[in-house]
Structures are given as structure tokens and as C-alpha cells.
């Protein structure tokens, strides 16, 4: 293991422990609305994947785990995950080589985020001609079309900047999106828990009669047909680049059509949107609740979640840290700054622990939702100061329907592409990939 357990570190302070516990015990109102799933179903429970992105990397000396006879010992940052250690799989020596500069200078946050799920070296541009690969979640989502009301959900917490630039000559698009349905089509994310709830569960009137429903569907279809005809007519008069824009629109219209025609999912308990979050901690918990609910109700099986945008400028007043995350991530080996980053990491992991606890609290047959889910966790860089892209912080949580065997640490040969891990995950979702991105050549072994 490249991770070195720091033996001089103090044990987890009682205060931190209580803080973490408090987080885990906070039960928002959404708990009251666990839907009932047809228990008579003999179908195996579906496998789900959640790609979980956290920005600005970690203090890697404090990130990692060691495996021993009795289980895992987790580093300081990971301590909030202790209750779930048997569900965690740590993979070391995985590189995000496609994000390397390759002669294009700085911009590691944008590149690492761009290639996070595409394993593709992004095209350097500040505006026009954005170009990336298709992200793995979207390849999986394509397969899901028609299976669940939402092929995939793209979620986050930060809107992004509306003036100025993001990272070193790279379009802000690269810093704000990890899901790409086409090389030039990033999928913007939903960042409001209220709006997400309404997308998932509001809309159709429960008292709607059959006649009304048929009429509504007819009207909806007529509108979609009419705008498609508008688009077809317009298409003939446009240049190539214009058509690309119009095609994005038409893709959206086709997906909307599928959505509107999908049979309604009855998730009886989900009746009320969460209240407006008072701070980021609550916002992230609400998002975690809704992600759990979306899986539980089988609204979708594929989710991408950006904890914050690349090189995020969040501050952490509840930790007494009022400087921008990205700014302090350039810690320059200053011990005080490093300690702040460790504290931020611990807090981030307590948020992950909250999600895992939610997933584990949902029973599915003999097991739990977490047993049927895979949470893929990583960041756009490893070390925030040096902007490294080798030996990335990669953690898997959950068992993905028994196809993953967690509770272990796996060390791969130096320079193993992360893309190989993505191939291995795709195969477990019945997507027969053999290569992926710039450097994925074979499925990573040893996961099960």
C-alpha cells in the first residue's frame, strides 16, 4: 500500500465522533415516506450505480485503508466511514492518465473532472468546440432507456460561476459536469432538492380519470409532434453547427417523450418536497435522501452526484474554515492548512457515511439497498497542492448485487488505468465493454 498509516495521529476525538454520530442520527422528514415495493416480486432487485464526485482531492497521507485479519483500519479522513468498513473496497495505484497535461499546461481540475467518467483527454478550449468522450454513466443510461422513468439522474449542489473563467483556459463546462451523453453534450445537473423532488414525484394528478389521462397523453404527444415538425422544417435551412444545436434539442424532446409516456411509478410515501436547506450540510443530506429514494422507488438506476464543482470555492463555517476550499487545497505544506484540509475531508466523509447509512436502511429482500448498489467514489485530482493524477483516491462502497466483494484493499500495479475499473463496472451492469476511453484496455480484476 502506498498509503501510510500515521501512527502518531491522535485517536478520533470524542467531539468529532459525536459530530459524526449526530449526522447519522439526524432523520429528516423524508424518512417518513418510505414507499412500499411489491414484495411479491420474484424479480431480483436491480443493480444500481452512483458515481460520487468530490472536488479538490485529499491530503493523501491521511486518505486510505490498511487491511488486516480483523478488517480494515481506516485513515483519519475516512474514520466517519468506520461503521461501513465491511462494505468498502479500496483500490490503489489507479491513475487518471487521460487527465494529464500532455503538453497543454495547467488546468488539472478541469481535465480531471472532464475525464472523471469519460477517461478521455478533453479538448482545451475556453468557449467553443468543447470536446470530451461519452461518460460511462451515460453508456449505462442508454441501456436503461424505457426500463425506469429516468435513464439517469445528474445531480449536484453548486450552480457554477456566472461571470469570469473557471480553470486555466478551459471552458467552465468541464468543471461543472461529469456526465456527457455525447462528445459535445455535457448533461447539466439538478442542484435543488425541491426541484428534484418535483421531477421525481410530482406532476400527475392522482385523481385523474382514465378519460382525462388519455386526453392528457394525446395533448402531450400532439405538442411534441408539432415541435418536432418545427425542428424538421428548420433543420433544412441551417448550417452544420446550427444543426448540432438543434440535434441536442431533439434529443431532449425524445427523452421528454419517453418520460411523459412512462408508466407512473407509485411510491406512495413520497408526497412532500423537502424544505429549503439552511446550509450545505442539510442540502447534501437532502440530496442523499432523494438519491436513496430514487433508487428505492426504481425511478432510476444510474446517478451521478457532484458534491461540489471542480476547484470548488466553498467555505466551511461550521468547521471554522472560512477560506475557499480550492485556495486552501494549495496548502504549500503549511501544517495548519493541511490540518484544515484534513478536517474538510473528515466532514466530506461524514456526508458519505450519511448516504451509506440511508442506503443501508432500506431493506430489499434479505439484504439492503446498499447490497444492490455500487457507490463509486473519487475526486478530480489526488493531492490538491501538487495536482497529481496518479494513485487517485478511489473507493467503492456496496456490493452491487453480489458482484463486488468489499471489506478489502486492493493494490494494483503502478499506472493501472482507472478506465479499467470503469470497464469492470460496466460489465457488472451487463454492458459488454472491452475497451473504454483513452486507456481502458481490459476489465480490472479482483473486485469480486
Amino acid at each position: 500500500m502506498s498509503f501510510q498509516l500515521n501512527l502518531r495521529r491522535p485517536a478520533l476525538s470524542r467531539r468529532t465522533f459525536l459530530k459524526g454520530l449526530g449526522t447519522l442520527l439526524a432523520l429528516p422528514m423524508l424518512d417518513a415516506m418510505i414507499p412500499t415495493r411489491g414484495s411479491a416480486s420474484t424479480q431480483p432487485f436491480p443493480k444500481r450505480v452512483l458515481f460520487y464526485y468530490v472536488p479538490n482531492g485529499f491530503i493523501m497521507e491521511e486518505w486510505g485503508a490498511l487491511q488486516s485479519g480483523v478488517g480494515l483500519s481506516l485513515s483519519r479522513i475516512l474514520e466517519p466511514l468506520t461503521p461501513f468498513q465491511s462494505e468498502l473496497l479500496f483500490l490503489s495505484n489507479l491513475d487518471n492518465y487521460p487527465s494529464s497535461p500532455q503538453g497543454e499546461g495547467p488546468g488539472q481540475h478541469a481535465r480531471g473532472t472532464g475525464s472523471f467518467l469519460t477517461a478521455h483527454h478533453i479538448y482545451k478550449t475556453s468557449g467553443t468546440d468543447i470536446y470530451n468522450g461519452v461518460s460511462l454513466d451515460q453508456l449505462l443510461a442508454e441501456k436503461m432507456a424505457g426500463t425506469t422513468p429516468f435513464r439517469s439522474l445528474e445531480l449536484g449542489t453548486e450552480p457554477g460561476y456566472s461571470a469570469g473563467t473557471c480553470d486555466s483556459g478551459y471552458s467552465c463546462t468541464y468543471s461543472q459536469n461529469i456526465a456527457w451523453s455525447g462528445p459535445s453534450t455535457p448533461l447539466s445537473k439538478e442542484i435543488s432538492p425541491q426541484a428534484l423532488f418535483n421531477r421525481l414525484f410530482a406532476g400527475t394528478n392522482a385523481n385523474e380519470s382514465e378519460v382525462q389521462k388519455q386526453r392528457r397523453l394525446l395533448y402531450q404527444q400532439s405538442i411534441l409532434d408539432s415541435v418536432s415538425a418545427d425542428a424538421a422544417q428548420l433543420h433544412q435551412h441551417l448550417g452544420t453547427q446550427d444543426r448540432q444545436k438543434l440535434d441536442e434539442y431533439l434529443t431532449g424532446i425524445r427523452e421528454l417523450e419517453q418520460r411523459l409516456n412512462a408508466p407512473p411509478v407509485s411510491c406512495s410515501g413520497a408526497t412532500q418536497a423537502p424544505p429549503k436547506a439552511v446550509d450545505r450540510q442539510e442540502l447534501i443530506r437532502q440530496m442523499s435522501d432523494l438519491m436513496t429514494l430514487a433508487f428505492q422507488c426504481d425511478m432510476t438506476r444510474i446517478i451521478t452526484f457532484m458534491f461540489a464543482n471542480a476547484a470548488s470555492h466553498q467555505t466551511f463555517p461550521w468547521l471554522g474554515i472560512n477560506d475557499y476550499h480550492h485556495v486552501i487545497s494549495h496548502h504549500m505544506d503549511d501544517p495548519d492548512t493541511i490540518e484544515k484540509l484534513v478536517q474538510i475531508g473528515i466532514w466530506e466523509m461524514s456526508m458519505v457515511a450519511y448516504l451509506l447509512q440511508k442506503l443501508q436502511s432500506v431493506q430489499e429482500g434479505e439484504g439492503t439497498l446498499l447490497d444492490n448498489t455500487l457507490v463509486y467514489f473519487s475526486s478530480e485530482i489526488a493531492d490538491g497542492n501538487a495536482h497529481t493524477y496518479t494513485n487517485m483516491p478511489v473507493m467503492l462502497a456496496g456490493r452491487m448485487g453480489g458482484t463486488i466483494q468489499p471489506g478489502r484493499c486492493l493494490e494494483y500495479a503502478a499506472g493501472t488505468p482507472i478506465a479499467n475499473l470503469l470497464i469492470a463496472l460496466a460489465q457488472r451492469m451487463e454492458l459488454p465493454l472491452t475497451t473504454f476511453g483513452d486507456d481502458g484496455v481490459s476489465p480490472l480484476d479482483g473486485l469480486s
Binding site: G105, D129, G169, T185, S222, S226
Partner: protein
Amino acid sequence: MRHIPSHLMPLLPLLVLTACHPDDANKGCTFPEEAATLSHYAQRFECEIYPLMTRNENGCVACHDASSERVMRMGSDGATTFEQLRAGGFLNPTRGGTVLDRVQRSDTLQMPLGGQWSTEDIERLRQFVEALESYSCSDPSPGRVTLHRLNRSEYDSTVRDILNETGSPAADFPVDDSGNGFDNMAEVLSISPLLVEKYWSASDAMATTALGLWTDAQNIRLEAEALGSGSGREVEDGWLLQRDGTMEGLIIVPSPGEYTLRMRAYKPTDSVSSNPWITVTLDGVTVGKQFYPDNNAVVFEVHQSLASGNHALKVAVCQDFIEGDGCAGPLVIDWFELYGPLQEDPPDGTQREEILTCDIEADPSACGTQILQSLALKVWRRPPDTDELSRLLAFVSLAQTQGERAEVGIRLALQCMLLSPHFIFRPEVTNPSASTPISGYALASRLSYFLWSSSPDARLLSLAETGALLQKDTLLQEVDRMLADPRADALVTNFGGQWLYLRNLEQVAADQTLFPEYDDSIQAAMEQETALYFRAFLQEDRSFLDILDAPFTYLNASLATYYDIAPDDIVGDNVPWPLGAELVKVELNADAQRGGILTHGSLQTVTSYPTRTSPVTRGKWVMEQLLCQAPAPPPTSFPPPDESGSIDTSQREQMEAHRSDPACAGCHAYMDPIGFSMENYNAVGQWRTEDDLGFPIDNSGVFPDGRIFHGVGELSQILKADPAVPLCFTQQLFTYALGRAPTPEDSCTLDTLNARFRDSDYRIKQLVKELVLSEPFRIQGAEK
């Protein structure tokens, strides 16, 4: 920074050039002699110029190359090839920050490897870039704007202006990506499925509201022939009543509330008798009487509060009329409708009366055509063609075949229009393979989205229809009219808000323990101060350059206190003191600590960290936004200067030390002194004379050429004299106006615009007019 006077520019392109210079380092290199092709210049660059840039280990490329580890890239792309340099504007003969500008200043710059050029080489470079510029100007291309989607602010302003929808539906849309500093770049604005989903919900809600329909109301249609009993008889499509005839039936109300009861009736076409009166009673109470004046069908409508359950409905012809009074049958009752339950008032923001300009229920086809024609003109910013109109009209008959009122069809058609690509985008239908002047309607849209971020109003559309808008005089009159309209504030909020970074102010999370006086109301006041200040330069007869040092600003009581401005800082005594909650204009004394855009708290705050100032960020803002000389990002192998620790006096020394590193100096030699001169303003824009540790602020800065300046006042004067400032503003406004980045082909247009801007003594209004008259604004270029 030196500037080449424009009279040195050759008036004619150098048509014939000999092959390579005899003592060319790159012997044997040839290029086509024909100077009228771009390939001539590309080759000539390879033969004549590139060898100078790479002539030895001290050439430009030694440092300014993307592939070099010593990355001091010229632009963000690390440009050294002909195409890259040209695209980045580095081969312009007159501007600052170009190759020519750099080598001319090399003696004053820190060119550590001794990259000085000889006079002859500089002259050769000058001839080259001037010839290239002449070539470019001889064949200007108007450029092409990609199919432009409405961004969030445009969407909101548009629906506000066409449907009176003030609820900002786009606030819920994903953030628009920006490029070139603005979020209205056509090429960058993409559409995700999530956005289409939001378009759907917004169009649904807006169409329902606009027509004054209630979302939970149901419409129950009862055909008269199915309902009828009493006297009279069933005819093909209704129940026929003679004089004194009555029709009775039961209606079932599902839930209590306010309902609209409608009845459609008409006289049979062969009827020649006089006109009937009819009386409608519900549960024995007369709810309405209606006279049928002619043979047209009439829809009778009454609002009634109803309990749930059965209600007796009765219709009588000529009831209570005496013989010979002129009331006569027959009359055909077509149908009844019960619509509800309704709330007491229609939803807010209803546009029923504006939209339903005729009786759609009585004559769905003709009235529907009339309504949809004018609605489509408004929503699509041009009249619909025949196909489009018939597709829209089909919704009216669709609703009717479903037993719903015709107005429901209008609602569906409106939703369809709002979801259509004709609304979501601003399509300009031209021939993609040839440069084409855009239509009057397209020009109306370009104008209105530039000046108002919204759709053209009725006047613009009618000028587009007659073609008058395509005439120069009309166009200029319209610009004046539009700038005088309150909607022109969009130029302040959207253009100004991004140019001056005001939009990011909301995201500033200043440390509350360090800066307890900074709160939401101060933030809002600072934002408004800068917006009002910029508006003064847009709307009033002022030179744009004075924006750097004009001795006035806008304050309210709390901002004046926050800035520590007292009555004796203010000129004249016509300002009521103490100030109120509203911001008012105040003239400042020459020795006040404020005056000029760089002294605004908004700008100082938005370029700081939550706990301290960042001289680098401030310097970068000035270079990027005022000079359009965006510093290259720091090289990979050199971390940015340490601003992460606590601020102290040694920070300045540290930063000065890192500026001695050649890899950093190229940019920091400018950024840092600019930022240092602003140090009298703390991280939330308050004046200070001591730093966090109590040391006096050193607000001096030194440029590499030895110019020393102190404080924002002297910095502003240096900037005011720099020709790069107005050129940069021209470039920014051009980018925003067109929704695309300038290309090398626009270089001439920009120089011309800038020259006219200067001739007008830098009136922004005049620049707006010149922009609107320019070819790129009025002509859509061919696709490359």
C-alpha cells in the same frame, strides 16, 4: 505601454513581395508571391518571422511555447504557430500585448534570456503584420453566429415581455455555460435533456396561467341532445326549441366551488323568424338571459357557485315574453359545459383578454386563426408561415374533438409555441454557404436581445415587416428609442454585470468574524452602486474613459457609513444628509477615498478571498477585463504564489521574490503591482491604512519599465492613458452584442469601431450605434 499610431498603417496591401530575404536564416524557404491569399502569409510567416522567434536558445519560443516546460504562453492556448497567433490577435499591428508590441518593448520588459530584437528584425516583423492586416481588411468576413438559444436571463425577460410572466421561470433552469466572459455565447449555449424537461414544465405552467385556466379545474361537456328532455326535439347536432319551448336536464357537480356554465346555441340556418331570447335557470333560479341577435352561434356564459351533487338546469325560449314582442324560435342548443371548480380569481398574470381577442368558442376557425397569428408573431418574433399556422390551428380542433372548449386548443398551441425551437432559439434562416444580410425580423431580434435581452416589441416587429428597420436612419432612431426604454437596463445587468463581475458578488462568502459589517444589505448596495455608475456612462453624455476616475458615485446611508464617507467628502450641499435607504448620486471631493470604478467596494470584494485581499486576483481582473490581456495560467511546474497563509508584510516580499522567476515574471510583473496599488481597500472593499498585522499599507507598484505609481488614483490615470482600455471595451461589447467571440477576420471591424468610438470622445451610445451598423451585426456569414 507604447502604441503604434494608426497613420503608420499602410493604406494599400503590399501586392508583390520578393521571395525570402537574402540573409534569411531559413534559406531556401519560399512562399507564394501572390499576397492576396492567406497561405501566402502563413508561408511567409514560416520563412521570415518564425526563424526570428526561434533563431537561438533565446528566441521567443524558448519561453513562449505550450510544449516548453518554461511555459510563458502568450494566450491561454500557448500559441506560437501562425494560425494560433493570428487567432489570438497576436499578429495585430496596432494593439498592445501582441508580438510586435512585445518585441518593441523588449528592452523594458524582463526578457531574462535576452530576447531583444534588432531594429531591422522589428521592422521586418512590422511590415509583415501590417501587410497581413491590410490583407485581412481587404476581405472582411462578417462572421457567423451559431443558432442562438435564449439564455436564462433572456428567457425570463422574453416571457415577461410577451406574456407578462414575472415569476422568473428560468431561475430553475441549469446555469448557462459562459465563454469569452459572457453567458450569451451561441456556440457555448447547449441544451441538455434536463433543460428540455424544464422548458416543458415552464411552457405548461405559463400557457395555463396566460389563458387564465385553472390547473385543477375540469371541463365537463354535455351534449344537449343527450341531456334534453321537455318540449322540443333532437336534431343532428343539438336540441331544437320553438318559442315557449323548454329543455330540462340534470347536471352533476363533482365537488363544490365556483363554476363557469357555458351553453352554445344558434339559430338554424334556414330560419327567417325574428330573434329569440332565452332564459337559463339553475335549481329554479334564473342565472341569465341572452338575446340571439343574428344567425351566428353564441356562447352563453355564466359564473355560479355550486354545491356538489345534482342541479336542475332549465332553458326556456321566449319565457315571459308576450305575443308579438318579436321573440320567436326556433333555436338549437348545441351543448353545455361545466368548468370548475375555480378559485375566486383567475390565476395572477392572466393574459386572457390580450390573447382571446375574439369569440373563439363561437367561431373557432376564423377567430383561432386571428389569435394564433398574432400570438405566434409575438412568441416567435416573426409571423408563422402557412404550415406552421395550420399546425397550431390543429390544436383548436383537437381540443374540440376531445369535447373541450376551443380556448383549451389555444392553450395547447401556446404551450407548443413556447416549447418550439422557434422560441427556444433565435433562428436566422439564411443560406449557410454564402454571406447573407439577415431579414428585418432577424435584425429586430438581434437588436432587442443586444439592448434589452428580450424579444422585439410590436414597433420593432412592424418596422421589420415593412423593411424600414433595414434602413440606416430608422435603425439608428430605434437604437435611441430602445436605449431610452427601461428595458435597456438589461445591458447594465447582463453586460455590465458580467464585465464588472457583479454577478459573482452574490457568491462571495466573506468571513463574518473578520468582517461583521459586511452583510446582505451592504452587498446589495455595493452591487447597485456599480450598476448605477455604469448606467450613467451608458445613458449620459460622458466619456467612457472617465469611468476610471469620475468623481461621483451612488450611496445610501448604510453604504456611506460602511465606506466612512462624511459630508465633508462631498461637493456641494444639495445632498440631504444623512442619506436615506435609497442610493443617491453624490459628487466626491478630490481627496475622497472613492471615485472611479476601481474604488468600488463591489469590485474590491469580488476579487478578494473571504478572509483577505488577493493582489494577484485584482491585478488579473484589470488585465483581463480592462486590457483584454488575460494573463496565461501559471505553468504546471510552478505553483501559484503563496497567498494561502495569513497575510503579513512579508507576503509582498515573497511575491516580489517570485516575480524574479522568469516563468512567473511575464505576467506577475504586471498583475502584482496593479494589485498592490489597490491594497488600501480590504477584502470587503473598506478603506484601510494598515494591514491585518498593523503595518502601514504600501500601495506602491512598479511596472517593469520603471513606472512607479501609488494607489488606485495613479493606477487609474495610467489605465486611462492606455489605448488598450477602450479597445478592450469595444471587443467586449462586440462579443456580447453578437454572442460570439471575435475572429481574426473581425480585427478590422474592431479597429474601425474603436476608431469611431475614439472620434465620438468615447460615448458608449455611439459605440452601440456603430456596432449595430457594422457588417457582422447585419450580415450572417457563410459557414466555413
